[in-house]
C-alpha cells in the first residue's frame, strides 16, 4: 500500500514538472494557434482580449503581462530567423523605414523577458532616436560588442542560466502604439523591419 502511494506521489511530481516544462517550451517556441506569422515576426491580434485562448493568455501572463489590446498597441516578437534561434554569439542587422503608428520601437529582451543588462544602458531604439540614412531608412546592429551607428547591445539575461527553458538567448520586440489600419486588419502582411543574421563567432 505504502509502496503504491510513494509510486503515485513520484509519478504525480514527475507529471507536474513535465507539464510545466511542456508549457514553457510551447510558450517559448510560440506554438499557439492564435499566433500570426509575418516573416519571422510573430504577433496576435487577440492579445489582452477576452477572445484570447488559454495558451495565448498563458503566453501573455509569462511574457507580456499587462499588454494592451490591439487598438492601443500591437506587439511583434522575433526569436528566430528562418527557424534559427537568436544567439548571443551572433551579430544581427535590422533594417527598416517608418511604420504607420503614433510611435514605434524595437527592444531587445533576454530569454527571461526582462531588459538585458549592458554598460551603455541602451535597451531599445524608437522612431525618434534612430540615426537615419538620407532617405529616412535606418539600420540597427544587434551585437554583444560595440558597433558603429545604431548599436543595440545584447548579453546574458539577468536571470540565472539554470532557469533557461527557451532555445533563443534573447528576442526582439517591435511595439507599434496606435497602429495603423495595415496592422489592425492585415497583420500578416503589414510592413515590418527586416532582420538578418550577419555573422556568428
Amino acid at each position: 500500500m505504502l509502496k503504491n502511494l510513494s509510486k503515485l506521489t513520484a509519478a504525480a511530481i514527475i507529471t507536474i514538472v513535465l507539464s510545466a516544462v511542456l508549457l514553457a517550451r510551447t510558450i517559448g517556441a510560440g506554438l499557439n494557434e492564435m499566433n500570426l506569422q509575418n516573416g519571422d515576426w510573430v504577433t496576435s491580434t487577440a492579445t489582452g482580449t477576452k477572445d484570447a485562448n488559454i495558451m495565448l493568455k498563458a503566453t501573455v501572463a509569462l511574457g507580456g503581462l499587462l499588454a494592451s489590446a490591439k487598438k492601443d498597441s500591437m506587439y511583434y516578437r522575433l526569436s528566430t530567423i528562418a527557424g534559427e534561434p537568436l544567439r548571443l554569439n551572433c551579430r544581427y542587422r535590422i533594417e527598416g523605414t517608418d511604420y504607420d503608428a503614433n510611435w514605434w520601437s524595437v527592444t531587445a529582451y533576454g530569454w527571461d523577458n526582462y531588459l538585458i543588462p549592458n554598460s551603455p544602458r541602451r535597451y531599445s531604439f524608437n522612431n525618434e532616436n534612430l540615426v537615419r540614412n538620407g532617405d529616412g531608412s535606418w539600420v540597427i546592429t544587434v551585437a554583444e560588442t560595440e558597433q558603429p551607428g545604431n548599436w543595440l547591445p545584447i548579453g546574458p539575461a539577468g536571470a540565472p542560466a539554470w532557469r533557461k527553458l527557451t532555445n533563443h538567448d534573447f528576442d526582439l520586440l517591435l511595439r507599434l502604439y496606435t497602429p495603423g489600419e495595415a496592422y489592425l486588419n492585415t497583420p500578416l502582411s503589414a510592413p515590418l523591419p527586416r532582420v538578418t543574421r550577419e555573422a556568428c563567432q
Partner: protein, 176 residues
C-alpha cells in the same frame, strides 16, 4: 510491461497537464503581481514607476520608451476615482482584470484627441454597483480587484508626460 503503462500514463497526464497549468497561469501571475505590489505599495493608490531599465523586474517586458504609473485596486469598500492630466504625446489609461484581460481603456489617440490638455476623471466601480449612480465617465470592473495602468511616452523630452503622471491619482470616490 508495467513500467511502459506508467510511462504512457505520465506522458498523457503531462500533455494534458500543460493545458491545466496554462488555464491557471494568468490568474496566478496577476495574483503574484498584485500581492507583491500590495505588500510594497498598498492598494487603491497610484504609484509612479521610474523609467524602466535592466533592474525593472516587477512586470515582464517593460518598455524603456514608456513612463508607467499603476494602481492596484480593490473595490470591496466602494468605488475609486482615477484622475489624470492628459499630455499631448501618447498617453493611455488601461484597466486589467485578474485574468489579464485588458477589459477597458481610454487614451489620447484617434478619436480621443480632445482629451489632450484636460484632466481625465474616471469612476471605477465593481460589477455589483450601478453606473447610473455615478456621474461622468464610469468604468465597471468585471472583478472586484484588478490593475489600472497609465502609460505615457518617454520618447524625447518627457517633462510634460512625467508631470502628468506625477499629478495623477487613484483614490476612494468621495460620497456625493
Amino acid at each position: 510491461m508495467k513500467w511502459l503503462k506508467w510511462l504512457l500514463g505520465i506522458a498523457a497526464f503531462a500533455w494534458a497537464g500543460q493545458y491545466v497549468l496554462a488555464l491557471l497561469l494568468p490568474n496566478l501571475a496577476m495574483e503574484t503581481l498584485y500581492l507583491l505590489g500590495d505588500e510594497r505599495y498598498g492598494h487603491n493608490q497610484l504609484v509612479v514607476a521610474p523609467v524602466p531599465d535592466e533592474n525593472s523586474r516587477q512586470v515582464v517586458r517593460p518598455s524603456p520608451d514608456l513612463l508607467y504609473a499603476s494602481c492596484l485596486y480593490n473595490l470591496q469598500d466602494g468605488a475609486l476615482t482615477i484622475e489624470a492630466p492628459v499630455p499631448e504625446r501618447y498617453w493611455s489609461m488601461q484597466f486589467y482584470q485578474m485574468n489579464t484581460d485588458n477589459y477597458a481603456g481610454i487614451t489620447n489617440q484617434r478619436d480621443e484627441r480632445d482629451r489632450v490638455g484636460t484632466i481625465a476623471k474616471v469612476t471605477l466601480i465593481s460589477a455589483d454597483q450601478s453606473p447610473e449612480d455615478y456621474e461622468g465617465e464610469v468604468i465597471q470592473s468585471p472583478t472586484s480587484r484588478g490593475i489600472v495602468l497609465l502609460r505615457a511616452s518617454a520618447i524625447g523630452d518627457r517633462t510634460e508626460q512625467q508631470a502628468a503622471l506625477d499629478a495623477s491619482s487613484c483614490s476612494p470616490t468621495a460620497p456625493s
